[in-house]
C-alpha cells in the first residue's frame, strides 16, 4: 500500500508541467478560440511526441490522469479527452493524427470537429464515422461543438469511464490553477492599507477551496487505480464541485478584473463551467453512484 506517486510518475508530471509552462498556453487557447488553430496544433504535436496520445493504450490510468491534470492546469485547447482517452480505449489502438467523437447522450456533439482528421459517432453498435453538421460556440470560447446526425445511446463502457475520469482530472488541474492565481492576486492587491489576503473573509474562502481540492484529488487517483463506474463518477462529482468552488471563489476575490475577458482567469472560469456538465452532468453521476450503492 503506497498511495504516493512513484518517482517516474512524478518526473513525467513535472516534465509535462514545465513544457506547458513555457508554451504560453493562455495565448494558444485564445488563438484557438478565434479559429487560429496553428499554435494549438503545434502544441498538440509536441504533446503527442511526449506520448500523451498513447497513454490510454500503453500506460495506466494514473498516467492518463497526470496528463489531463496538466492539460487542465494549463487550459490546453483541443479534443484531448476524445482523442487521448475515449477513442484509443474504444478502438483499442492509439489514434493517428487528430480525431474526435460524439458520445450521446452525455457528449452529444463532437468537440473541435473542424480540426479533426476523423470524426466518430459512438452508438449502441460501436463507432461509426459521423456526418458533421452545425457548429456551436461554448461558454469555454476554446470549445467548438459540432452537431452530428442523430444516433442511438452509446454504452457507459470503459472508454466512457476513462473520458469521465480524464475530465475529472482536467477539472482538478483547472481548479488548482485558479486557486494558485487567486492566492497570488490576493497577496498583491491592497485595500484599506493592507493585502486583501490578510482578511479572514478572503482567507476562509480560499481555505475552503484548498480543502475541496485536497479531498477531490485522492478520488481521481483512487479511481485511476480501480476505475469502477462508481469510483469514476465519484471523482467527476467531487472534482466538478471543487473546481467550480475554485472558479466562483477565484472570480469573487479578484473582483471586477476577474470578470473581464482580457484577464487570463476568464479562460479557466469558463472552461470549468463547460467541464462541470461535460461527460455526464453532476446529477447523472450522483444518480449512478446512488444506484450502485443501493444495489451493493
Amino acid at each position: 500500500m503506497n498511495f504516493e506517486l512513484t518517482d517516474e510518475q512524478r518526473a513525467f508530471a513535472d516534465s509535462l508541467d514545465s513544457l506547458l509552462s513555457s508554451a504560453d498556453t493562455a495565448l494558444v487557447a485564445r488563438a484557438w478560440a478565434e479559429g487560429d488553430h496553428a499554435p494549438g496544433l503545434k502544441l498538440w504535436e509536441r504533446l503527442a511526441e511526449q506520448g500523451l496520445t498513447m497513454l490510454a493504450t500503453e500506460a495506466t490510468p494514473v498516467e492518463v490522469c497526470l496528463a489531463f491534470e496538466a492539460l487542465g492546469r494549463h487550459a490546453v485547447p483541443g479534443p484531448w479527452v476524445e482523442a487521448a482517452a475515449y477513442l484509443p480505449t474504444a478502438l483499442g489502438v492509439e489514434v493517428e493524427g487528430i480525431a474526435t467523437v460524439a458520445v450521446p447522450p452525455h457528449a452529444p456533439r463532437a468537440l473541435d470537429a473542424d480540426v479533426a482528421d476523423t470524426v466518430y459517432l459512438a452508438g449502441p453498435d460501436g463507432l461509426t464515422e459521423a456526418t458533421v453538421g452545425e457548429k456551436h460556440g461554448s461558454v469555454d470560447l476554446a470549445r467548438h461543438l459540432f452537431d452530428v446526425e442523430a444516433g442511438g445511446t452509446a454504452p457507459e463502457d470503459a472508454a466512457f469511464d476513462l473520458a469521465v475520469l480524464a475530465t475529472a482530472a482536467q477539472l482538478l488541474g483547472a481548479g488548482e490553477r485558479v486557486l494558485a492565481d487567486s492566492v497570488t492576486y490576493v497577496k498583491q492587491r491592497r485595500q484599506f492599507g493592507r493585502e486583501i489576503g490578510s482578511y479572514q473573509a478572503i482567507k476562509h474562502q480560499l481555505a475552503d477551496v484548498r480543502i475541496a481540492l485536497d479531498f477531490a484529488r485522492p478520488l481521481v487517483y483512487g479511481a485511476a487505480l480501480d476505475p469502477t463506474p462508481r469510483a469514476v463518477s465519484a471523482a467527476k462529482v467531487m472534482c466538478g464541485d471543487a473546481a467550480y468552488l475554485a472558479s466562483r471563489t477565484g472570480l469573487q476575490v479578484h473582483g471586477a478584473i476577474g470578470y473581464t475577458q482580457e484577464f487570463d482567469l476568464s479562460i479557466w472560469i469558463n472552461k470549468i463551467r463547460a467541464l462541470v456538465t461535460a461527460w455526464g452532468t453532476p446529477a447523472f453521476h450522483r444518480a449512478r453512484i446512488l444506484d450502485s450503492l443501493v444495489e451493493a
Binding site: V183, K187, A207, M238, I289, A296
Partner: protein, 382 residues
C-alpha cells in the same frame, strides 16, 4: 502507486475482524457520560486490553502490538464497522499519550501509560479557560513554585474539560512564569482529579449529559514528578505533537465510513428520491476521507510530517460527520426527533467544528501556513 494491502496486513485485518465479531456487545452501551455507561465503557476497555486491541500501535510493554500506521487505520475501520463502543479513554490514548511518549520520562511512561491503555485510569483534557478558548495561550491559571515540597501549586479555573466529570487524572497548561511573554512561561501538568483543592462541576451538554465539566484549582499541589517536559516549555511540548499522526488530527476514517454505510442502509429501508443527492454527497465526503487518509498514511510512512494538513483534515471530518447525520435525520422524517443512535450521533457531531481548535482557527492555519497568505494583525493582548 497502489492501494493493495500486504498479506500480513490482510491477516491483521482478518484477526481484528474475527475478534470484534466475537466480542463487540450486541446492544450499544449506555452513554459514557452516565455513571452506569462509564463503568461499562471501562469494562469494555479492559476487555480490549486483555487481547491487546486497545492501543494497537503502542509498544508491547504498554499493552500494544506495535502495529504500523496502516494497520492502525485498518483496525479503526474494522472497529467502527463492527459497531464497537466509543472510546472512553480517547483523550488519554490519542491526545496525551503521544506527548508522554515524546516528552515524558521513562518513569512517567511506566507509571501512566499501562493504566491509560487499559482504561483503568481515564484522563480528562483541562485545556480551555473562561477567557482563553481559541486564544489558548492567553490562559491565566497559575502555577506557583514550592521549593520546600518540591513541586508547584496550581490555582485558577479550566472549562469544557471533556470526561472531567468522571475522569481519574487530568492534564493541562498553567502559567508558571507570570513575567514571561504569552506563549512562554507555560508548564504542562498532570494531576489526579481527586487531588486536594480540585473541585469539579459537571456541565450538561446539548443532549443533557455531563460530557464536560468546569474544574476549579485552589492551591493544588503537584510534585515535580508530574510535570511533563521542562517547566516553562509547556506550549512547545503541547504543540510539538499537535499535528502528530497519533494525535486527533489524524482521525481515522473508520467511524465515518461506518456511519456512511449505515446511511446507505437507511436509504434502502426508507428510500426518498428527494434526499438521494444528499445521501450521495455525504457518502462521497466519507469516501474521499477514506482514500485521502491512505495518502496521508503513505506520506507519514515515508517520513513526511502532518504539519498544517492536520487542519485540512479536521475541517473535513468535522463537517462530513454533520452531513452524514443531518442527512440521516432528514430520511427519518417525523421520526428524526425521537431518541435514536442517529440523533445521539448528530448531537455529538455538532461539537466537531468547535472542539480541537474551531474550524475558523483551522481555516486561518490553512490560509496562512499552506496558502502562505499574510497573517491578520492581532488585536490588543493582555
Amino acid at each position: 502507486m497502489d492501494l493493495q494491502l500486504t498479506e500480513s496486513e490482510l491477516a491483521f485485518q482478518a484477526e481484528a475482524r474475527a475478534w470484534l465479531a466475537a466480542n463487540v456487545p450486541s446492544e450499544p452501551l449506555p452513554s459514557m457520560d452516565t455513571a452506569e455507561g462509564w463503568r461499562l465503557h471501562q469494562e469494555w476497555e479492559a476487555k480490549l486490553t486483555a487481547d491487546r486491541w486497545s492501543v494497537v500501535s503502542w509498544p508491547k510493554d504498554y499493552h500494544g502490538r506495535e502495529a504500523s500506521l496502516i494497520e492502525w487505520v485498518i483496525f479503526e475501520e474494522e472497529y467502527y464497522r463492527a459497531g464497537a463502543p466509543g472510546r472512553v479513554s480517547q483523550n488519554g490514548i490519542f491526545l496525551l499519550a503521544p506527548i508522554i511518549f515524546d516528552h515524558g520520562t521513562k518513569e512517567q511512561q511506566d507509571r501512566f501509560l499501562p493504566t491509560m491503555a487499559s482504561g483503568e485510569k481515564v484522563w480528562a483534557q483541562c485545556w480551555s479557560e473562561p477567557e482563553a478558548g481559541s486564544d489558548l495561550a492567553s490562559l491565566k491559571s497559575t502555577a506557583r513554585r514550592d521549593d520546600e515540597r518540591g513541586g508547584w501549586v496550581l490555582n485558577g479555573q479550566k472549562i469544557w474539560c471533556s470526561r472531567a466529570s468522571y475522569a481519574h487524572w487530568g492534564f493541562g497548561l498553567f502559567r508558571s512564569d507570570p513575567s514571561a511573554q504569552k506563549h512562554a512561561g507555560l508548564t504542562y501538568f498532570l494531576f489526579p482529579m481527586d487531588a486536594e483543592g480540585i473541585t469539579v462541576r459537571p456541565i450538561a451538554q446539548l443532549d443533557g449529559e455531563a460530557g464536560f465539566a468546569e474544574v476549579f484549582y485552589d492551591d493544588v499541589f503537584v510534585p515535580d514528578s508530574d510535570v511533563l517536559g521542562a517547566p516553562g516549555d509547556g506550549w512547545r511540548v503541547a504543540m510539538s505533537t499537535a499535528g502528530n499522526e497519533r494525535g486527533l488530527s489524524l482521525r481515522s476514517p473508520g467511524r465515518f465510513c461506518a456511519a456512511a454505510d449505515r446511511l446507505v442502509d437507511l436509504y434502502r429501508e426508507r428510500p426518498d428520491a428527494r434526499v438521494g443527492d444528499r445521501v450521495v454527497d455525504a457518502w462521497l465526503k466519507a469516501e474521499a476521507y477514506r482514500v485521502y487518509t491512505w495518502g496521508t498514511v503513505s506520506r507519514l510512512a515515508e517520513g513526511g510530517e502532518m504539519g498544517a494538513a492536520g487542519s485540512v483534515n479536521k475541517v473535513w471530518w468535522s463537517e462530513l460527520d454533520i452531513a452524514l447525520h443531518e442527512t440521516a435525520l432528514d430520511l427519518l422524517g417525523p421520526d428524526a426527533e425521537l431518541e435514536s443512535r442517529w440523533l445521539d450521533g448528530y448531537t455529538f457531531a455538532l461539537s466537531g467544528p468547535i472542539y480541537a481548535g474551531t474550524n475558523e482557527i483551522q481555516r486561518n492555519i490553512i490560509a496562512e501556513r499552506i496558502l502562505g497568505l499574510p497573517r491578520e494583525p492581532k488585536g490588543a493582548q493582555r
